[in-house]
């Protein structure tokens, strides 16, 4: 075999992979569009806020993906729906506005595709970030106290301060990263119907 023949073969083989996955993938999922819900007049999937998009980066940087996935599978061969991780399976259109689009490959912790549905209160999510064992003493999730700032409380404790005991008249306030992360987690919900994945 000549070197030029080998070069052509390598290019063709890699082109096959590239075109098959990237180009065909683009034509299939890269051109998906949101569906307009005619009853509510809202698009599905909903567009996340700027804070939630920042939160996606905080989510990634804190290494949450090392233990949590972001993909609910259907009823055949998996117990994701029975475990209450979501009202339906996730489909490519659900990831339309996710930037960066993350999936995670591990489930040491539960799936978070519907974290916003399962824990809707931001206070609860903040408490979980500060000390996961407060809600669940058996939790293996590590605490993230660095996402909170300790500051002197004024005459009264601020509304967003965490309800945890502190010393020296201090209060624990969520940092911008903590608020963004909570906004992202709250944005994770698939309680809208799509033609390819209706709600049951």
């Amino acid at each position: 075999m000549k070197s030029t023949q080998a070069l052509v073969l390598v290019f063709l083989a890699l082109l096959f992979t590239w075109a098959g996955q990237v180009a065909l993938g683009f034509f299939q999922v890269g051109r998906l569009e949101p569906i307009l819900n005619e009853e509510t007049n809202y698009p599905a999937p909903p567009t996340p806020s700027g804070l939630a998009q920042t939160g996606a980066r905080v989510f990634a940087s804190q290494g949450c993906l090392e233990c949590h996935s972001l993909s609910v599978r259907g009823p055949s061969g998996s117990a994701d729906l029975t475990r209450g991780w979501g009202p339906r399976r996730t489909v490519p259109r659900d990831y339309l506005f996710r930037e960066p689009a993350l999936i995670g490959l591990s489930r040491i912790g539960s799936d978070l595709s519907n974290a916003g549905l399962r824990i809707p209160e931001s206070k609860d999510l903040l408490m979980h970030l500060y000390n996961p064992r407060q809600r669940n003493p058996n939790s293996t999730c590590p605490p993230h106290p660095w996402l909170f700032d300790s500051s002197l409380a004024g005459p009264s404790i601020e509304n967003e301060a965490l309800p945890v005991p502190t010393r020296n008249w201090k209060q624990l306030l969520p940092s911008y990263e903590a608020k963004a992360l909570v906004a992202y987690l709250q944005s994770l919900r698939t309680d809208y119907a799509l033609p390819e994945a209706p709600l049951k």
Binding site: W18, Q21, G30, S61, C64, C141
Partner: protein
């Protein structure tokens, strides 16, 4: 194989830098890996010492990064920089440029390390660092890859074809995959789920079209040279090569189960994995006769033993990947620790052993140095082999149990975590063994580079066999 000439040695300093970097990153990664697993095993530790940059969320992607880009990629490039001018007889030009590129690669690893440690991972699969680090890798690779391709092209007709074919595939796949991933993932060109497809594609490129072909270059070039036998059927070899290069990029899709990946892509990933299993079988049929009846030589020669274990690990890794792609198995094991088992098999057993064999076989030729017949050689082999075996088997069993438990909605998540604990103890033991083995290798590697041993030979032999065999890679020794 040609005798090294002084001009060939121009690339030696760049190879030296890459190999020193490789050994150092492996040592650091092994230590951090132990720290990460300890936190997974004893979650209370992170409550006692809540420091973000040594938390599990930072260390887990960092360890994976250090092993893939620091240890294995850097090591393979270093070994190839020694090998290619010797098999082609064509010296590298612009030695200083190559040295700068080798230093740049180490800076890129250092930059990635600092970023992940302080800022955390980007969350992208096999791309946990920022674009600036990617650019450093890209520039460094373009220089090193151009140097290697030049030697490859000019010597195309001399010597065996298969290692050249695999090298060509790897050298083209790496920049194509990294460039496409960068453009689509960080250039805002890929919307939504396409980003996830691209992540799986890059993950496949990195492992199955970059690291695996480079490991096969060393196996196809050095195993026949060390055993004195020629690889069998060339047409079977070419068929396996075509299958590896064509299908390798699709394997990652079989990791996904439903979710953001279109089902046809997942099915294509499964079919590609099953077909690639046939290609691996083809290569196994080529390698197996080379080692038949060579038991005594494998016992004596360090490089040959590492290559032999590396070759069997190649077969085992892809047999495992093929098993995981089977539909029923895939449904059960997605999102479990079987992924770590695959990583352990590929990194610590296949790539790691082939790289160690390559270093033992080729380093003396480039540095006018030798290996002592020191007990550390045996410690290196036994501790790393035992460590890798414990790691892979514990992760595999943990993953299967985890998958079965996850599919039973009656089992709470906290109970699943407690199921995993005994396996994590074995994983930790495996990682400690592997670290000790790597420490033994590092000590002998650096001491040999510094010429601290009074009695050395160009061929590394285990201490129980001090008679030095004739070595086809070192004609001066005959």
């Amino acid at each position: 194989m040609n005798t090294p000439t002084p001009s060939v040695c121009k690339a030696n300093s760049s190879a030296g830098i890459l190999l020193i970097g490789s050994v150092s990153w492996a040592l650091l990664g092994a230590g951090l890996q132990v720290l990460a697993t300890t936190q997974l095993l004893v979650p209370s530790l992170s409550y006692l010492l809540p420091i973000p940059w040594i938390g599990y969320g930072h260390l887990a992607p960092l360890v994976s990064f250090l092993f893939t880009y620091g240890w294995i990629s850097s090591g393979f490039l270093g070994v190839l920089l020694i090998l290619i001018p010797r098999i082609s007889g064509i010296p590298f030009r612009y030695g200083r440029l190559l040295t700068s590129a080798a230093i740049l690669w180490q800076f890129a690893v250092l930059g990635g390390l600092a970023e992940i440690l302080w800022n955390g991972s980007t969350g992208l699969l096999s791309l946990p660092f920022s674009r600036s680090v990617s650019v450093l890798f890209f520039i460094s690779f373009l220089i090193l890859g151009t140097g290697l391709t030049r030697g490859l092209g000019r010597s195309w007709k001399s010597g065996p074809l298969l290692p050249r074919l695999y090298l060509l595939g790897g050298l083209i796949a790496f920049p194509l995959g990294l460039g496409t991933a960068e453009l689509l993932l960080r250039g805002s060109l890929a919307p939504g789920a396409l980003q996830i497809i691209m992540q799986f594609t890059w993950h496949s490129f990195l492992h199955h079209l970059w690291l695996t072909p480079l490991a096969l270059v060393l196996l196809f070039q050095l195993l026949p040279a060390l055993t004195g036998r020629a690889a069998g059927s060339l047409s079977l070899g070419i068929l396996s090569w075509v299958a590896t290069i064509t299908l390798g990029g699709w394997i990652g899709n079989s990791l996904a189960s439903e979710g953001p990946m279109p089902s046809w892509l997942q099915s294509a990933g499964v079919v590609a994995t099953l077909l690639l299993g046939v290609a691996v079988l083809g290569n196994t049929l080529l390698f197996k006769p080379l080692l038949e009846g060579k038991w005594e030589e494998c016992r004596r020669q360090v490089a040959l033993r590492f290559f032999a274990v590396g070759f069997w690990s190649y077969f085992a890794s892809y047999a495992w990947i093929t098993f995981l792609a089977l539909p029923g198995v895939r449904q059960t094991t997605t999102f479990t620790m079987v992924g770590q088992a695959t990583q352990a098999l590929l990194l610590f057993s296949f790539y790691g052993n082939v790289l160690a064999g390559g270093i033992y076989a080729l380093l003396p030729a480039s540095r006018s140095m030798g290996w002592p017949s020191h007990p550390a050689l045996a410690y290196h082999f036994w501790f790393t082999t035992l460590g890798a075996a414990l790691l892979a088997s514990a992760y595999a069993l943990a993953g299967i149990f985890q998958g079965l438990a996850l599919n039973d909605p009656g089992v709470p998540m906290s109970t699943i975590s407690s199921y995993l604990r005994p396996f994590l103890v074995i994983v930790l033991a495996g990682q400690l063994f592997w670290w000790i083995g790597q420490l033994a290798f590092s000590s002998i590697f650096f001491a040999s580079l510094l010429k601290l041993f009074p009695s050395v030979a160009p061929v590394a032999v285990f201490p129980a066999n001090r008679d030095i065999p004739n070595h086809p890679l070192h004609p001066a020794h005959h």
